[in-house]
């Protein structure tokens, strides 16, 4: 989403789904995993909207939808491509929107070559480096800096993005797509037609997705597919439109906004890179943009450095920019796991997370934990990531021995949400404060308490002894008011630092107040305004019934309390609503400002006909009709010249492990996918390889309403545990017959990584697919169980392989291969024997 529109967040909010005329839920089981958010889908359905669920399984979401379309796991890009093909072939795009608000008319360089021309590769591919260089993906004549690119507003020029798109998707016909997806051509046409019929001036359609899009080796490109559809149909920035990313955890949006992620600083500012960023000036020049909101990078980074290093950050010392550590590659979670196995990572903090059950290839994670020097686990109860040293399946099988595990483990009790103050950022970018109701018991504390006091101790120690490079710690501002006997830091004071203050120490009211001269401090520029007027805006709770359906006075959304972003696009280029029915934000000529139901996501007084002067910088370079203010050109990107590593347009590739050959290109899987071949993380052979038939079935994992992720917050709760007490696999009656599986009995499922067992659920809701003339069976596995809790079971994630999307470094969990047999799995020493036999059969010895 960031690459298509400018910001990595849902473009709309859940309540707005009620205004949709058509909702496509794809890559998400929304009714099961977001039941309360799903009320807005039901609301739309009851008002007559078409609700389509495209999913391999018939789930509780499918049951509530007006139409279910089954497709094979991992074929989403082909299906979305089929919709794009339909729109372009039948000339159904919302032309006025496309011409003015997207880069559809922009001309590309003559030397750009599409994947259709190069059999699955774009120009710029370097086989030796397994990656692309991006020069040929650029706009034509962009070397003439600062000038708007050449365009063809008639969309006829063969080099314009619109025409490139048309050629790129020419082969994604309903018939071809249906053959790849294992569905009917008519389904593709029906969904495409529903979207087209419910888009335009008078109507809007929305997409909802979740981790069944992101957890693929082509995850980011799948979302791109939806972005292209929504831009072509003119559904971004408008009520009832948009793309809603449904996130599975209370503050998952928050933990990317204020990232505990290796590659970014708060507010999506990149981490400095060892090769590229010698000093602050370099950093701002290479990471900031000349035009668009990122043109203010200097203000964002300097204010962050002021928040962190306070008085010590001065213009003379580059605001302590040098004190930031540098990255020089991928340092994501899975890379760290490899580091643990290799002995380079020695200490590990595991905070409210249970990788021994919840991460892909959890067996490999347990082995990694067993190779640490020290480990800190903070949680409510003793989860599997804390107990692995005595009860991991590898202990039972004799592959690991308690007495030989060096890891020193600190298990610490954590406070629950009602036992602490703080804010969560929900799926719609909304920061909502939760107040402390009671004190946590015993030694339980918030993680805020833990990090604050750990930091305090470390600062004291560093002051007293010689340490390498101690300045960043010594200079770090770390003064938060303490409360009560336990000296709990004041969470509101932390939020105020995140919001930032001006030269007089007053809370800033929005990010336009940030300065690059060191006079302002701000911990996260996109959150600037959440403490406006010295008031915790995230704690606002004016009842929804007392305000408009947008509810702008309930909590606070980033950026600047906007609920639908890019909402300038809800008006036509002249600033008038596209239609009365879909009125949202518009230009008020009398008052000479943008107005409407929401905070305009645009310079409030910038006229719709404003044309930037040559050489204009930052937001001044965005014209009055360009809604995507974060982008350098103010446009929605149908074609992405920058910021994505595996291609400017989505291409259909098979999953890393697939029982099927790619029907469109000789390139089987995403060539840029990130792989970690090593013992215990072997890849199952796929059909174009030898022995590709050893794992004939598709495996996919998912969640159930009744449980929460790795189970730490549900397997400990009786009222949830009884609702789904045992780990089960969902299979079709056809597969049951093929493999002799009995409903309610046990089955053994295995990959080259692990062997596990589950109870068998034979159901008509799972349908074997016909893919390219071949019958394809699938095994569905909810992944909530582990060795501890009120209800226990094997972990589905043990079966997975770690292979990642190259952009987001997210693992593929939604389409791998496996085999399944009847009966219980081997136990004890028989496990390694069984696995050795499997590996031998698939000729995997020594796959390093």
């Amino acid at each position: 989403m960031g690459t298509s529109f400018g910001r990595g967040g849902a473009t709309t909010f859940q309540q707005d789904l009620q205004n949709s005329d058509c909702i496509v839920i794809m890559g998400s089981n929304m009714a099961e995993n977001h039941p309360v958010g799903f009320q807005w889908v039901m609301e739309a359905r009851e008002r007559g909207a078409t609700v389509i669920h495209v999913d391999p399984r018939f789930t509780r979401t499918s049951a509530a939808a007006t139409k279910h379309v089954p497709i094979r796991a991992g074929s989403d890009i082909a299906f979305l491509g089929g919709i794009i093909h339909y729109i372009l072939k039948n000339d159904r795009a919302f032309k006025e929107y496309v011409v003015n608000y997207t880069n559809g008319p922009v001309l590309l360089r003559d030397d750009f070559k599409d994947s259709e021309e190069l059999d699955g590769f774009f120009s710029g591919w370097h086989a030796d480096k397994n990656g692309y260089t991006h020069e040929t993906w650029q706009y034509k004549d962009m070397d003439t800096h600062g000038e708007p690119p050449d365009t063809d507003k008639t969309l006829q020029d063969p080099r314009c993005v619109y025409q490139v798109l048309k050629r790129h998707y020419a082969r994604y016909t309903p018939e071809t797509v249906a053959r790849i997806c294992g569905t009917e051509p008519q389904h593709v046409i029906d969904v495409a037609e529903a979207l087209c019929a419910n888009s335009g001036r008078e109507r809007t359609s929305a997409f909802c997705y979740s981790v069944a899009w992101t957890q693929h080796t082509t995850g980011v490109q799948t979302i791109r597919g939806a972005a292209i559809i929504q831009l072509l149909l003119g559904n971004i920035g408008r009520p009832g439109g948009g793309i809603l990313a449904l996130r599975g955890h209370a503050s998952i949006q928050g933990s990317t906004d204020i990232p505990t992620l290796f590659n970014i600083l708060p507010g999506y500012i990149p981490m400095p890179h060892a090769h590229a960023h010698d000093d602050l000036k370099d950093f701002i020049e290479s990471e900031g943009a000349k035009t668009g909101s990122w043109g203010n990078m200097d203000k964002y980074i300097v204010s962050l450095l002021k928040a962190w290093f306070g008085e010590r950050a001065t213009e003379q010392n580059d605001f302590c920019f040098d004190l930031l550590p540098r990255i020089n590659g991928d340092h994501s979670s899975y890379r760290s796991i490899m580091g643990m196995l290799d002995g380079t990572v020695k200490g590990f903090f595991c905070i409210g997370e249970n990788p021994a059950v919840g991460s892909a290839n959890s067996g490999l994670h347990r082995r990694a934990l067993a190779n640490l020097e020290w480990l800190v686990v903070r949680d409510f109860s003793e989860i599997e990531s804390a107990s692995f040293w005595y009860d991991a399946p590898e202990i039972e099988s004799g592959e690991l021995h308690t007495e030989s595990i060096p890891t020193e483990v600190f298990w610490m009790p954590a406070a629950a949400h009602a036992e602490k103050d703080g804010s969560f950022t929900n799926t719609q970018r909304l920061l909502q404060w939760h107040h402390q109701a009671v004190e946590p018991k015993g030694e339980a504390h918030s993680d805020l308490w833990f990090y604050y006091h750990l930091g305090k101790r470390i600062k004291e120690k560093i002051a007293a002894q010689e340490e390498p490079f101690s300045d960043p710690i010594a200079f770090l501002t770390w003064n938060y008011p303490e409360k009560g006997e336990t000296a709990d830091p004041d969470a509101q004071a932390v939020l105020r630092e995140i919001n930032g203050w001006d030269a007089n120490g007053r809370a800033l009211s929005d990010y336009n107040g940030l300065k690059a001269d060191g006079s302002t401090a701000c911990g996260c520029w996109i959150y600037c305004g959440c403490f406006k007027d010295e008031v915790n805006q995230t704690a606002r709770r004016k009842p929804g019934s007392e305000q408009s359906w947008v509810a702008p006075e309930w909590a606070w959304a980033w950026p600047a309390n906007r609920r639908i972003i890019y909402n300038r696009a809800s008006a036509d280029p002249q600033g008038k609503p596209w239609s009365e029915r879909k009125k949202y934000v518009w230009w008020d000529e009398e008052k000479a400002e943008w107005t409407g139901h929401d905070v305009p996501d645009f310079n409030k007084t910038k006229r719709p006909d404003y044309t930037p002067e040559a050489g204009a910088k930052a937001e001044d370079a965005i014209a009055g009709w360009q809604p995507f203010v974060m982008q350098e050109d103010g446009l929605g990107w149908l074609f992405v010249p920058n910021g994505i590593v595996d291609g400017p347009l989505p291409v259909f590739y098979e999953p890393h492990e697939s029982p099927v050959k790619n029907a469109l290109y000789s390139q089987q899987a995403n060539p840029c996918r990130q792989q970690f071949p090593r013992t215990f993380n072997e890849s199952n052979p796929s059909p174009s390889d030898a022995h590709g038939d050893v794992f004939p079935f598709v495996l996919h994992t998912y969640r159930l309403t009744e449980h929460h992720t790795a189970g730490g917050m549900s397997r400990t709760v009786p009222h949830l545990s009884e609702l789904q007490p045992e780990f089960f696999c969902e299979v079709s009656p056809e597969l049951a017959q093929l493999r002799g599986l009995t409903h309610g009995d046990w089955a053994t499922i295995f990959t080259s990584r692990a062997v596990i067992e589950a109870r068998v659920m034979v159901t008509d809701r799972v349908k074997p697919m016909r893919v390219d003339g071949k019958t394809l069976h699938s095994v569905g596995l909810p992944y909530h169980w582990g060795s501890r809790g009120l209800v226990t079971g094997d972990s589905a994630n043990d079966l997975l392989n770690i292979t990642l999307d190259p952009n987001a470094h997210i693992q593929e969990t939604k389409g791998l291969t496996c085999d399944i047999i009847s009966g219980r799995r081997p136990r004890g020493k028989d496990v390694p024997d069984f696995m050795n036999a499997v590996r031998t059969r698939s000729h995997l010895e020594g796959q390093e």
């Binding site: 009714a31 099961e32 039941p35 309360v36 799903f38 009320q39 039901m42 018939f58 509780r60 979401t61 499918s62 049951a63 509530a64 139409k67 279910h68 379309v69 089954p70 569905t183 009917e184 389904h187 159930l704 309403t705 009744e706 009786p718 009222h719 949830l720 545990s721 009884e722 609702l723 789904q724 007490p725 045992e726 089960f728 409903h743 309610g744 109870r759 068998v760 659920m761 159901t763 008509d764 809701r765 349908k767 009120l790 209800v791």
Partner: protein, 281 residues
């Protein structure tokens, strides 16, 4: 104030209907309250089951995998007062189909068999026209279990008294709605005045029937074997598909007739005794 006062059903006498029983509260009497469970809006999330147990502090019913679709609590019991049934009905080509989900609950019958048979007075009709088991009075005899045509009542694990939905009597008293209805994400469970719910159900049926042939209301008829329910249901298929009895009849239905017979016998006996005493003198 509108009151649920259905036409008397043949075989019943007024004294044992919801209206008559709640009238015993005099000025304390309130509108008859109940549930309308619209299964066309149910997404099978089971929030009702959990919200009920959390509020009523009921234990789990055990951790057993049943294999009956996504239903692992199986049925209403002494510890499970809301139960979601799952029925898979896929079309032969299996691209589409139905997955019926229905949240079941005590019907709070107009003529409640459990109430009639309870020998200790543990079961009462409340001022809201609902039926509540008082566990401080209940001795666990279990007469009510067999008197319920729906199999709603069961023994509670912890104190061996009988348990079932109270329509959150304690919440109603302070003006709150029942926990399950409040939690229900999609308004499949609606709480309100029974008369109004009946009207709403009729209207909803009209709309739903345009799309689903088999759609029907359940327990909305004051002339059925329980005198209509305080809990109404909109189903998409026959009741038995969901495990509900198609023609539930309160076993105490012919009780008045028996009373009359018993009364005559008692009078005759009394007369004989009196006669006897008189003649001795």
């Amino acid at each position: 104030m509108s009151r649920a006062c259905p036409e008397p059903v043949e075989g019943f006498i007024d004294l044992t209907s919801a209206a008559a029983e709640s009238a015993t509260y005099g000025a304390e009497e309130r509108d008859r309250m109940g549930f309308f469970t619209d299964t066309t809006l149910c997404i099978g999330c089971k929030a009702c089951e959990v919200a009920c147990k959390e509020w009523n502090q009921l234990p789990s019913d055990g951790y057993e995998f049943t294999g009956e679709s996504y239903d692992n609590t199986k049925e209403l019991s002494g510890n499970t007062w809301r139960h979601v049934a799952f029925v898979e009905q896929m079309e032969p080509e299996r691209d589409t189909g139905r997955w019926l989900m229905e949240s079941d609950v005590c019907k709070h019958c107009t003529h409640a068999g459990c109430l009639d048979v309870c020998p200790t007075g543990a079961i009462i009709r409340t001022e809201f026209g609902t039926v509540v088991i008082q566990d401080d009075i209940c001795n666990g005899c279990g007469y009510c279990v067999v008197a319920c045509p729906f199999g709603v009542i069961g023994e509670k694990q912890e104190d061996h008294t009988m348990g079932k939905c109270t329509l959150c009597y304690d919440r109603l008293k302070v003006g709150e709605q029942p926990a399950c209805a409040k939690a229900c994400p999609t308004e499949s469970i609606q709480y309100g005045v029974v008369d109004e719910l009946r009207e709403r159900a009729e209207k909803r049926l009209e709309k739903v029937q345009q799309k689903f042939d088999g759609a029907q209301l359940y327990l909305n008829d004051p002339n059925d074997g329980v005198g209509g329910g305080g809990s109404l249901f909109l189903l998409l298929d026959k009741p038995q598909v969901y495990g509900l009895p198609p023609n539930p009849i309160v076993p105490t239905k012919d009780l008045p007739q028996r009373w009359r017979t018993a009364g005559i016998a008692a009078a005759a006996l009394f007369g004989a005794v009196v006669l006897c005493a008189v003649s001795r003198r």
